[in-house]
Symmetry: C2
Subunit: 444 residues, 2 copies
Amino acid sequence: MSTKSIGVALVGCGTVGGATAKIIVDNTAKIAARSGVELQLLHIVDRSYARADELGITEGARTSDLAVVCADPNVDVVLELVGGLTTAKSIIEQALRAGKHVVTANKALLAHHGAELLALAADNGVCIGFEASCGGGIPIIRALYDGLAANHIDAIYGIVNGTCNYILTEMIHNGADYPTALAQAQKAGLAEADPTLDVSGVDSAHKIAIMASLAFGVNIEFASIPVSGIDSLDLKDVLYAARLGYSVKLLAIADRRDNGVMLRVRPAFIAKEHPLAWVSGPFNAVSVYGNTTGHTMYYGRGAGGMPTGSAVVADIISLALGSIPAVYRSSPALRGGAKEVAVIPVSELESRYYLRIMVADSPGALADITGIFGRYGISIASVHQDEPTDSDNGGSTAPVPVVVVLHTAKEQDVLAARDNINALESTAEVSSVIAMQRYRYIAR
Amino acid sequence: MSTKSIGVALVGCGTVGGATAKIIVDNTAKIAARSGVELQLLHIVDRSYARADELGITEGARTSDLAVVCADPNVDVVLELVGGLTTAKSIIEQALRAGKHVVTANKALLAHHGAELLALAADNGVCIGFEASCGGGIPIIRALYDGLAANHIDAIYGIVNGTCNYILTEMIHNGADYPTALAQAQKAGLAEADPTLDVSGVDSAHKIAIMASLAFGVNIEFASIPVSGIDSLDLKDVLYAARLGYSVKLLAIADRRDNGVMLRVRPAFIAKEHPLAWVSGPFNAVSVYGNTTGHTMYYGRGAGGMPTGSAVVADIISLALGSIPAVYRSSPALRGGAKEVAVIPVSELESRYYLRIMVADSPGALADITGIFGRYGISIASVHQDEPTDSDNGGSTAPVPVVVVLHTAKEQDVLAARDNINALESTAEVSSVIAMQRYRYIAR
């Protein structure tokens, strides 16, 4: 039986880098016994070693000079765990040109420049492992290129941002409004001081771009993905969702169609029967629909040092064993050679929709509204209007909330109907329009 | 970019074999485009070709002579999809000795003779792919040897029998009793005419033996696994579970302890907060607890031709690319060379327990029972007794059901207490003792 040894240089010893170093140090003997791979942490490259000191990591020569690392013939793989776009890209390019494999957790960089970097790796006879870029400790990238390799993958629906899911769970379970839930997430260390990248949906868009490229074997222009976040979500809609049998989740969607790929990130109503509706707190899950397996789902911690470090180390092991190189060698997408694909414009998209409309409690108001939907050829599935309560500002003619659920309709028609309703002379204003997710096939 | 071609011989063209042939035929071009592997179905070996005819499969020379297949130098991999122990073992041995890789879905055979067959494969420089043996279309075997390779795996909790989970779901959601739910499963084609292997828990035991061997890197004596099934489950207990906030599931458990491995299959109460409680109908899910990822879960269809065929074809692709050989080369467990491990005897196991006790509605009866638990040092967490109803056979002194939930206790003490209660002079009889599952760490 053979044992493989692999020399590792870690660039960036922060949360994920520090955890990765800790896993390498703590689990080396166990990994060697089980997988036959001996991990050798040869260099740690950073400007500060506070985190390494904190973890008591003494392995690895400390340096700030990447050139030293790239010149060391014992280094087989460089871990880029710096994050960001510019410096990280330059680190990866230097390492690849020096003939080193790269492992990275950098979803922003891969979403923007993945194909270019994978092609550069292939040109230099090396690979980029990026299991850590999506879903933290969940081995979803491997599921897409390996475990589900027999499938024509039709669709991916992902809850891939733990910060957002934690906030939504606080809203759903504890009735917190968005600002309160966000503050709670920040207090729990689950949201940054500036949470924009997470709550705006952009982080989720990075991840769905990476997963869709791999699953569908295509290149995706990141800027073409329509993205909306949870930052304008009203607690009222989250509570109505629960009453109607749904959970509101920030969903990253990739759906293969005959005329291209439908990609988007948006809050959506998920029927409580679907497993994605169950995913709570900071956990992530990715549902994959394939033409032979049907629905499979992958669940786990989507962020944090140790789970993400687990994915980084899994890639190092697969590089040492040669399984990543074996798979990459024959895959156009993993060599950066997949073709550009058309992202279907939002105007063509269809869905079921939930609308909350503030309607004047006066004769004819509801008839005006339903008339507008009728003119756009949109069928109404259900209408819910409660008795007005004191909290609806009292007064018999004060507007009351009416919840309208639509059958499948084109988004652009729904939005046009919304604008028409808002322009009505009778007081009526559409407060929210939220998609109700349908799945490619099979309910669960 | 390289394209790899692989010659396949299919032995056994039944449900899984037929579906595998169909996937190969239907998805060949898509698989070649995405993974760079060209699948060539060269032989179909069976005594009947009814299923192949039904699927319109014209590929592959039809033969009943395995020797012809083994002598064909273009055959790289033999698929054993016959099932059973004797013939299947002989087919696999012949193929391995002829230097052919093998892919199999045969969990019974691997649970009993896995190490021996993997060693024979290694001796002949080939591999056995067995993704299809556990969890159907869920790539759980790969998660254990590849995706979670950075982890020291602590525990696995699996719902790995779709027949049982379908029956339990019928009981939970529709209030069907066991015989009715079983009949329903048979009608839906989800249970065999003789369902013993499924409902007795033996099929689940096969799967947990395979997963535990791989996850812990050990050899397990199959006969040492304590197994109980769902065939004696009373609907009353399923309904009490729901009232207490639990779902009853047939759970296959592997838990690594300092003094060995705890393995067992049994019905258990799963708290509704744990994702395993959500798994409904014929779906399967496997929770894996690793020391770096924490909890991850893998969900999908655990049986059926197409999902299982998906796993078979994934293994063929990985054999063609060389990623399975790369991983197997360095893994003691995948070369059949892992060491025997002690399975911890049932007498040493601890758990929380639920008991339903029929107690005479007479003074002192409950005191007698609680006194017995006290004598065994077992703490009672809660006691629930409803007002007697007509359905409890009426009469003021007729026995009434009392539900007792125990704190963690040794199983042997709980069973001894049960025997003592049953021997009481006051009328009291323990109708059910069901474990309440706790997890290795973290609630979700």
